[in-house]
Point group: C2
Chain length 311, copies 2
């Protein structure tokens, strides 16, 4: 084990950063770094690169490591990064996690292995445990990624309890993308005073999460609306909190009327005047022109903007 | 495009070969080659290495390529191989498929990208199409892998139709692991006389599949019961076919009372007198000793054996 470095944990609003692809579907490091820099300037406390909204699982480990390198070269602070490093293959998870820790990333956000369904808690425990033991570095801050609507493999509270018991300090928190507030609340109640940081998986639950002891949110729409979401985070104790929350919830509802990832890319393409952003890797597809027109029109009608996005 | 080499297509019984791991979970090429050789001696017409029962998605691309190399070095005929090459990441699928074709594999068995759920036929078409175009080799024989109970991403008949229309000769068939005979029958009816080879995903449907124009089966229990299953395949037109089918179905039912992959490994460990075979990678877990005792006892009671397995 390398010596622990007491680093302040990431709190606030994180974006699961969308990944720009060129026409040939290759990842575009320059656009990626620029978008990350804009997010950090615009209210994000951290960047959950390689999340679901990043099309992370549509990329190879090598492609993701190249993008991480580009961020380092591009001067994005590693301490603000919480890359997704969980794969179906234990060997891939170890490789990505080790590299993230070596770079000094503030944390890693880890999916369970998601090919086999109905697996046991024991099997999932062994997966996370093997990654932690093999990386063998006290700097590792592991955030569990609970997203059963997509992964189809949940991370039950009993499993979290067991991991937290065995690896306190290393198992640092969770992103709850179940979409089920009662599950987030159950985590908040059960793991309070355990140094276990709970992030809502959508800004719709940001205020509720903060009021119940959570640490922020890691949210798709953080890619396009970071300033307003951060404003709720910074003012959650204030008299305007409910009104501010209603505003970001309204924007979220507009965006999620369309397929989320393609919508985020269409918004970034439109407000950044950069159409290449629209490209998604198979098996995803871009919005139709009608979906795109509706989305942009709805957002403009609500006074939405992305200040400072155009170069 | 390299010139097409008229190679006889694989027909008959294929095993999705279980992958041996050492105590530290590293793949064991020597045990793997020995098991593949035993399967080819014992009735298998081909080897669907890197299938669901191979824990393929629990391994990195590099680990799988090393095992493929070991098969080539070990003298297993490449023409009999149908490796699984479908991944969530397009780049991984292209890399594995290209390597399989370069080695002269008889085919590849391709999962759809399985992280995102509810994706469109257009998105799945683009995925398979990109792989075919990028590999760009007329020797490619692509078998689609339909296994919605695990992948949670089905391959609908309309998508097969479109792929077959665009890539005749390359899109060569399907493994139907839906467990739903009516789906297999619908494929058989719709794609007859189209050079589209349909393999049942379980030997339970072998006789039905052969009688309806199918080409064999790719089945988990092919790992442990290849001779008897091959015997049904070779005698499907004969007067004893129904009785023979009942025999292999009975064996299957015994095995699938336990979690399949761990059961196959426990059987191989027991009848090959090689306990290291029991190791599975997380998130899977080995059978409990009680499950194992029950399984072996049931099989012995039914007169099951694995002739020639012990070195």
């Amino acid at each position: 084990m390398k010596p622990s470095i007491a680093q302040k944990r990431i709190e606030g609003v994180l974006a699961p950063v969308i990944t720009p692809f060129r026409k040939d579907y290759s990842p575009d490091p320059d656009r990626f770094v620029r978008h990350c820099q804009w997010l950090m300037r615009s209210g994000c406390a951290g960047l959950a690169v390689f999340g679901t909204n990043s099309e992370a699982n549509s990329m190879s480990v090598e492609e993701k490591l190249e993008l991480l390198d580009a961020l380092a070269t591009g001067g994005v602070a590693a301490g603000a990064l919480m890359p997704g490093t969980g794969h179906c293959a234990l060997s891939d998870s170890v490789k990505m996690t080790r590299e993230a820790v070596r770079m000094g990333c503030g944390g890693v956000l880890m999916l369970p292995p998601f090919y086999y369904k109905g697996v046991s808690d024991e099997g999932l425990f062994r997966n996370f445990s093997e990654v932690i033991e093999r990386v063998g570095d006290e700097r590792l801050r592991l955030y569990l990624y609970h997203i059963p609507p997509v992964s189809n493999v949940p991370i039950p509270l009993e499993l979290i309890e067991r991991l937290l018991e065995r690896y306190p300090g290393t198992v640092a928190g969770v992103k709850d993308s179940s979409g089920d507030w009662s599950n987030t609340k159950a985590m908040l109640d059960r793991f309070k005073d355990r140094s276990f940081d709970i992030f809502a998986g959508s800004e719709v639950f940001l205020l509720d999460n903060m009021r119940s002891g959570g640490r922020g949110c890691i949210t798709a729409t953080g890619n396009v609306n970071p300033a307003a979401i951060d404003h709720v985070y910074r003012n959650w104790r204030g008299p305007e909190a409910d009104r501010l929350q209603a505003g970001i919830t309204a924007t979220r509802k507009i965006v999620q009327k369309q397929p989320m990832i393609s919508a985020l890319k269409a918004i970034t393409a439109h407000f950044g005047n950069d159409p290449q952003w629209k490209t998604v890797r198979p098996p995803l597809v871009e919005l139709t022109s009608e979906q795109e027109r509706q989305l942009i029109s709805d957002l403009q009608g609500a006074g939405f903007s992305m200040p400072g996005l155009r170069g």
